[in-house]
């Protein structure tokens, strides 16, 4: 029940917010809630959400990475140049892009942790430098169109209806199975188990969500592969953060670097590893975005992408101050941000209004985070 209070109900405000946003846009333009637009929204969310998963890890650490947008663009550029100009097979080009993202993260993490330069300065320098690197990599071409089937398939593949339902059933069985297994292990260890009713309620909510999503997505082209990739990343990293030693150390460093250091945790090692993971996730997101646009150009990874991924993490409920949050906030937050942007596009609002509104939403999310932290401090809980 406590997990419910901290975890599930922790993401309740953002779910309520999402429902409100959807209701408003649907009221303003009924096309918003059509299977076609929601499918479009899901594929748009995939790239932002994937990069945001990496940002959540960095935020949990109590740091920031301002370079992820440009890193995603640069890595997509590397993939495109290798694949299109040099005929490198798609999988190898993608692997190279991901490796490049990891290497960039390693360098920035090393610079920040060993040389003790604040992470926002190191990655701010990165923001500019990697943008330049993208221009270098693209050379005089400027824009590279992606024609490789494997690359295009990442964002252009939709699961047939039966496969979508099969995935849905597997997800629900996995959730139910792991939940029951945990309950049994806790009972065997003579530990208290939460009320079965609350657990069942959670399961039912999941079943309804999965069924609703499948009905909507199958109403158009089917479940987008890109969405599954995002959910896979989120589930994997959520497990990493909550259930593994490495994840526990990320939370410890984010909560109190000094306490972590004294507990014998290699604080710098954790920091470098997390920045490397953020680079990897930026590269993955960049590849997904390129696959959706079928091209990489000089503005790839630029514009409002960086702010969107950070806003997504914070709106989802991950604190900017470290040690509090969940990987799933990247998904829920990205859905909110992309819904707003998608809805404003449908309404035909000009870029000026879009920027102002997105900025206001980010400010609101950060304000809630800051006020909550202040509240914790005031009550001696910080």
């Amino acid at each position: 029940m406590r997990r419910l209070r901290e975890g599930d109900v922790g993401s309740l405000p953002v779910i309520v917010g999402l429902i409100l946003i959807w209701a408003v846009f649907w009221f303003l333009n009924p096309n918003f809630l059509t299977p076609r637009n929601l499918t479009n929204l899901a594929t748009q969310t995939a790239a932002t959400g994937t990069i945001s998963v990496g940002i959540v890890l960095v935020l949990l650490l109590g740091e920031i990475d301002l370079s992820v947008g440009q890193v995603s663009g640069l890595c997509a550029g590397i993939m495109a140049v290798l694949n299109v100009k040099h005929g490198v097979p798609a999988w190898l080009a993608i692997a190279s892009a991901v490796a490049a993202g990891g290497a960039i993260g390693l360098v920035q993490g090393f610079w920040f942790s060993r040389l003790r330069i604040p992470s926002f300065v190191v990655t701010l320098a990165g923001l500019l430098a990697w943008q330049g690197a993208l221009l270098l990599v693209l050379g005089s071409t400027g824009t590279l169109n992606l024609t490789d089937n494997t690359v295009d398939a990442l964002a252009g593949t939709y699961l047939p209806d039966w496969a979508g339902w099969a995935v849905g059933v597997i997800v629900i069985l996995a959730f139910a199975g792991s939940g029951l297994l945990t309950r049994r292990r806790r009972r065997a260890a003579d530990l208290d188990v939460g009320p079965i009713g609350a657990w069942l309620a959670g399961l039912i909510v999941l079943v309804i969500l999965v069924a609703a999503a499948l009905l909507v997505l199958n109403g158009y082209l089917g479940v987008p592969l890109a969405l599954l990739i995002l959910l896979g990343f989120a589930a994997g990293f959520d497990f990493l953060v909550r259930r593994t030693r490495f994840g526990r150390y990320i939370m410890a460093v984010g909560g109190s670097p000094e306490a972590a250091r004294r507990a014998g945790i290699s604080v710098n090692g954790i920091r470098v590893a997390v920045f490397a993971l953020a680079g990897v996730m930026a590269a993955c997101g960049g590849v997904l975005a390129a696959s959706r646009l079928l091209a990489v150009n000089q503005s790839s990874g630029g514009s409002d992408l960086l702010l969107n991924v950070i806003a997504a993490a914070v709106i989802g409920g991950t604190s900017l101050f470290g040690g509090r949050g969940s990987v799933w906030s990247a998904v829920t937050g990205a859905l909110v941000i992309i819904s707003i942007s998608n809805g404003m596009d449908l309404l035909g609002l000009p870029a000026s209004i879009k920027f102002v509104i997105t900025g206001a939403v980010l400010l609101a999310a950060v304000t809630i985070d800051g006020v909550a932290r202040h509240g914790r401090q005031a009550s001696g809980k910080a």
Binding site: L191, R243, T244, A263, G323
Partner: protein, 262 residues
Amino acid sequence: MGVATRTPILQLAGISKRFGAVQALADVDFEVYAEEVVGLVGDNGAGKSTLVKTIAGINVADQGTYSFQGKAVHVHGPNDVTKLGVSTVYQDLALCDNLDVVNNLYLGREDSGGLPVLKEEPMEKRARDVLRGLSVKIPHVRTPVAELSGGQRQSVAVARSVMWDAKVVLLDEPTAALGVAQTRQVLDLILRLRERGLGVVVISHNMADVFEVCDRIVVMRLGRRVATFDVKAASREEVVGAITGAEFGKLRASDAPAEDLA
């Protein structure tokens, strides 16, 4: 008291430590016996913290010897000391507020059976049993430390230091900033550690607390150990006199002040 005939579990002899022009510790001896609570008192800047950091291995002494259970040991860092079974609870407690009690008790020593995935159930069970064994009362072992009271946090920090086979525990100002009931909790916990046969060193400014839980009181002043009192045979005035240097007459110290040795 018969203390002199037993072997101290932890003994430092002739410790000197200099920071630039400041002689932080000058030829200081210090010892703790098993099943004993030692109060380490002194004014600000008397050298208490430097001594504790030296015992904890954070400072390496310029001169002097360090022995544990009668054997001389070489201490190069805090890890060496932790391995011996000497743990320190600093005033800031070094807890991660965002993590729950189980995670804090196991921080850096998580149980995963060699695999990367943590074994939560055994950890939670042992955490619960350890806290029960020490009569530490908290709402639930899965409560984030941020939601605990000061006394509970102090108790969790102490429990963490002793649940890994510690033989000596150093507590830096364990009752500072605590209310009456919470101070009571922590003092009871200190007495329980003694019952379990641990050597406990308590640094404190609070004479009432020191006289309540300690067996011996070691007084530091200006980097030297100036007096040692048996609590049963000492008065508060004498201890305060030794701390401030306003010595009246001959000290009723149970061993010679360090100044006489120097």
